[in-house]
């Protein structure tokens, strides 16, 4: 049984389908990247999967349980999914350490010292422990993203979602963030990442789900996709590879 099963997922806005019957699986320990042209529904897909956006129809099974069924505990589902945003989304009124401990204390109900121990462990893993007292405004983009990843990891999620984790970074910071996500990939952390960054996809994906106009157009290993003789895919990758 896959950790995450997405079945015929549809999201429509006023009759226009952004997602039009998307299906794929994500095994435990697997890393999949969702790619596709702008407006193909990548970010909407990620937000539907943790119910930040309510899907119109279809099913999402996490650990075999349909999380879209009426009465499902949406907040419990979300706390099992780590979400790393494009623009980091750190809480600007809190220090780095408080950003990471907030959910541990309020949702996991850990004591202050337990929460701090766990937070510092994850910050250390992301090489950010020495910035524990800094505020987000004092961090670079790469540092912010590393804190955001530590914050997500600290909750011990079943799966880690990344929404364009490198698109707000300059090239040097992209390299450092790709290296860290790659380290998670090698540690067999289950990852679902939306990106248009081919370099990132090459370093962290077992397989790529290629979306086009709200449908799964192809699903394959990145090196196979890059060599496909297909105008839609070729057009997206623009001859790279």
């Amino acid at each position: 049984m896959a950790l995450l099963e997405v079945k015929e997922l549809v999201k429509s806005y006023g009759g226009r389908s952004v997602l039009d019957g998307v299906s794929f699986d994500l095994e435990e320990g697997e890393s999949k990247v969702v790619m596709g042209p702008s407006g193909c529904g990548k970010s909407t897909l990620l937000r539907c999967l943790n119910l930040l956006i309510e899907p119109t129809s279809g099913a999402i099974l996490l650990d075999g349980k349909d999380i879209t069924r009426p009465g499902a505990d949406v907040r419990a589902v979300r706390s099992r999914i780590g979400f790393v945003f494009q623009n980091f989304a750190l809480y600007r009124h809190m220090s780095v350490l408080d950003n990471v401990t907030l959910a541990l204390r309020r949702l996991k109900k850990l004591s202050k010292s337990e929460a701090e121990d766990r937070a510092l462990h994850e910050l250390d893993r992301m090489e950010m422990a020495e910035k524990r007292d800094a505020y987000p405004a004092a961090l670079s983009g790469g540092q912010s993203q590393r804190v955001a990843i530590a914050r997500a990891l600290a909750m011990d999620p079943k799966v880690l979602f990344f929404d364009e984790p490198t698109s707000a970074l300059d090239p040097i910071m992209v390299r450092e963030v790709v290296t860290l996500i790659n380290r998670l990939y090698l540690d067999n952390v289950t990852i679902l990442c939306v990106t248009h960054d081919l370099g990132l996809a090459k370093h962290i994906s077992d397989r790529v789900v290629f979306l086009d106009r709200g449908k799964v157009y192809a699903e394959d290993r990145i090196e196979n996709l890059l060599h496909r003789d297909d105008p839609v895919i070729e057009d997206f990758f623009g001859g790279e590879g």
Binding site: N50, L52, R75, A76, R78, S79, I81, F83, F85, Q86, N87, F88, A89, L90, Y91, R92, H93, L102, A103, R106, L107, Y135, P136, A137, A138, R151, M155
Partner: protein, 228 residues
């Protein structure tokens, strides 16, 4: 004390009245600043309701109280409530009327600050598993409040000055006491000049506290959104 201010000696000799008035002005100002802050946060929370009808009613409330003079509501309560069989003390009416008014202003300041927040932070809170109320309490309210400190403290200063109008509903605070001193001594110029100095002193103290609060509560890297 009288030697230090010989010009005001005649007025200061009424110091028991002055002290009583000051005490009542400070009591009223502090009370309406506190209730107005709590009320403002409550009204602000309602402006973020998921129900459009509640949002509409809340906005109407804010517009009503920002758009009409406070004294009208104080008179409405003071002269109107007894017609409904409700009799409240002038202090209670002053607190009630001011709270309705100040809450509307404070809610508006908080709403302006809210518009400066990063929507991704709020989405991030929900993605972590926080409830809507937790997102409000842990992220929205602290950030909006801290970004509104200059505006909220300006409102506190305004409260001290505006509290002088309650003499019109028979709450005998500092200004009312000074009126009595003036009419008793016929030293109108001296008395009201002294009154102005005392208000200035009182407001200066509030300003000092306000600026310290602004420095302490500022979010690093973020500028206050309103009132600075």
């Amino acid at each position: 004390m009288l030697d230090a201010f010989p010009f005001f000696a005649d007025v200061i000799s009424y110091w028991p009245q002055i002290v009583r008035g000051l005490r009542d002005t400070i009591l009223l100002s502090a009370t309406i600043t506190a209730t107005g802050l709590v009320g403002g946060i409550g009204v602000f929370a309602l402006t973020l309701s998921s129900k459009p009808s509640i949002r509409y009613l809340t906005q109407s409330y804010i517009s009503l109280f920002i758009g009409t003079p406070l004294i009208v509501f104080l008179f409405l309560l003071y002269y109107g409530l007894p017609n409904l069989g409700v009799t409240l003390s002038p202090f209670a009416i002053a607190v009630f009327g001011f709270t309705l008014n100040v809450s509307a202003y404070n809610a508006r300041y908080l709403t302006i600050a809210y518009k400066e927040l990063d929507p991704a932070e709020l989405e991030s809170g929900r993605a972590q598993g926080f409830s809507r109320f937790q997102v409000f309490r842990l992220i929205t309210a602290p950030q909006s409040l801290r970004m509104s400190v200059p505006a909220l403290t300006n409102q506190a200063i305004q409260n001290v000055k505006d509290s002088s109008i309650v003499f019109l509903i028979q709450y005998i605070e500092f200004f009312a006491q000074m009126q009595e001193v003036a009419s008793r001594t016929f030293l109108f110029f001296k008395t009201y000049l002294f009154t102005a100095f005392v208000y200035l002193l009182l407001v200066s103290v509030v300003v000092l506290i306000a600026r310290r609060l602004e420095r302490r509560l500022a979010i690093p890297g973020m500028s206050a959104s309103v009132g600075s």
